[in-house]
Amino acid sequence: MFNSIKLKLVVWFVIVFSIFFAGLEVFLYNEIEELTLELADEHVHAELETLANLMAIEEAQGHLEDELEELATAVTGVYAEKLSGHYYQILSPDGKILVRSPSLALANEFLPVVAAGKEPVYASITGPGGEQVRMLSQSYDFAIGRLTFQAADSLDETEGLMSSFRITVLAVFPSVFIACILGVYIITGWALKPLRSFSGKVGEITEENLSERLEERGMITELKPLAASFNTMLGRLEESFSKQKQFLSDASHELRTPTSIIKSFCDITLGRERSSREYRDALKKVSESVNRMCDIINRILVISRMDSKTIQFKPVRIDLMDLMSDVKKLIGQSALHKGVTLGLGGTGVAIKGDREGLTEVFTNIVENAVKYNRPGGSVDITVNEFLGNAVVRIEDTGIGIPENEMEKIFDRFYRVDASRGVTVGSGLGLSIVKTIIEAHGGKIEVRSQYGKGSTFTVSLPIKNGNGAAQA
């Protein structure tokens, strides 16, 4: 829930929007407050100027004293009302109040006295009526000395404006806020719609229809790369799936023959009473088939472990000449039996590799070379060094491999003898051989002339160790 793009977008928008909106409000509030204060200042300044001008005119006419008296009593308008919010007072040079507006006098209040020079001094203070006022004090020079004029105007109007501004903002903000959240919520939902339909399409693809792909045409730009990589992934998945399927079907196919033999022997032998000799013969056949199955299963295990890369090769220093003479000893008996001469020559080359794995490799190849040979034939093994590689060549005078089957011999379960009536081994051999060699960073090549013999060439890098370590 908290991991939804929609929610995150809404939350982020709300945070950003709140900060921005609050900032704007504060800024506007300050601006307006400053503006209204300026207006109030101008207003009070104009009043003061009027007073001062009046005084100057009267002084020029020699009626200053009268005028002061008159100012204190006969003024009309806002100045005449008690605590109307519009006040003035005039101070003598020694700070005594000469005159105050009737609005002050009627309430017997004064403006706080401020000693001011010729420059205007503004101040926001609490006025005589307890209200907020803006007061200006300024001195002017007259013949009788320096008079200080003070005028004050109530800020009630400004206050009213500001408070109504505040109320408006506070009232509007929540509704705008909610409207915005709703808007963002709807817009996000709308913007995420293609994503939803995308995920719907992806959800429709299962192992049953892995060959389907997402249609990239007409898809919105932002989702195209996603669709493309998803399709690539599907391709890889499909490939590995079908490989797995093929492997499974090949493996079960291979297991069917020995299973059939076992089953038939059991069914038929158990069908009636038999002599112990017959039982023994049947059990012997069953046991042979079981051995064959074990062999197939072991090889399947090796292959699947290699596929999942769980097999650990232990690279050690191996002299290939030693290894090949071990292999020769291993195969010697069956070669003798078949009447095939085994030859080994060349120079000793040391590499780093997994002894067990490489023994498996060469045993397999030499075994095949003997198996598919003819009596009186030969298998020649040579070990050499060539361009930084250890090269082992196994040349036989056997039946060879037909050209159309050359590509297939390294396939799992392929048996070159499948069409020849000889059925020994499971066919996993050369596939394992190739996998082990590649895990050592090497490669295997085969040349063959059908009917004349085959040559397998295995080359393994001498300065290796990393290849085997990685496997």
């Binding site: 023959t257 059939s260 033999i261 069914d267 038929i268």
Partner: protein, 223 residues
């Protein structure tokens, strides 16, 4: 009944042959497609058990060639593959039945019986001629409700006659269908076995069922 088994897996072929022989069939064996084709064309077999994965010529090819040559012997395909397409292909090529390895041997026997029945005029597993009952599934024979004990060869001969009840069967037919190629048979042996059968089936009954048709052979019928 004579059956040709074409299977390249020697152990499997051996034990199936043994099982079939014990079930009273004469069995010929071939280990590759070419040999199988030759034998199917040469010997008068009643059914062919044909593996698909065969050396030299595969089973489907063998079947195709046979049908092209007009040889309509019933064929049961035997294979390690159970892909639906293979089954369809096999049946469309002209196979009469299909069995996937590994199979239960009794099922193979049942399918063979079913194929043999299809060819014959009788459609039931138990063939009846008057009060004679021949149960082709259990190989039990009864005459007048009483069980008759027969040797494998005697049973095979009776079954062969029973499948063709009401028709004349020549001695050569009998020799060819009751024995496989390994047995060198003199058709006089047939007379010997017919005598054994008569002793066990007709001897104690007034109504004789096995009749000799002079110059032609034998017939199993009510009158």
């Amino acid at each position: 009944m004579r059956i040709l088994l074409v299977e390249d897996e020697l152990d499997l072929a051996g034990i199936i042959k043994q099982g079939l022989a014990e079930a009273g069939y004469a069995v010929d064996m071939a280990h590759d497609g070419e040999e199988g084709l030759y034998m199917a064309e040469t010997y008068p077999v009643d059914a062919i058990i044909l593996d698909i994965m065969l050396p030299i010529v595969d089973g489907i090819e063998v079947l195709k060639t046979l049908r092209k040559k007009g040889i309509l012997t019933p064929v049961i395909l035997l294979t390690a593959r159970d892909a639906l397409l293979d089954k369809i292909k096999g049946l469309d090529t002209g196979a009469d039945d299909y069995l996937t390895k590994p199979f239960v041997f009794d099922e193979l026997l049942a399918r063979i019986r079913s194929l043999l029945r299809r060819k014959a005029t009788v459609k039931e597993a138990v063939i009846r001629v008057a009060d004679l009952e021949v149960d082709t599934a259990s190989h039990q024979v009864k005459r007048g409700g009483k069980s008759v004990s027969l040797s494998a060869k005697e049973y095979a001969l009776l079954e062969f006659l029973a499948y063709r009840k009401g028709s004349v069967v020549s001695r050569t037919d009998i020799v060819e269908h009751i024995y496989n190629e390994e047995v060198e048979m003199d058709s006089n042996v047939v007379d010997v076995y017919i005598n054994y059968l008569r002793n066990k089936i007709d001897k104690d009954h007034r109504k004789k069922l096995i009749h000799t048709v002079r110059g032609a052979g034998y017939i199993l019928k009510e009158d």
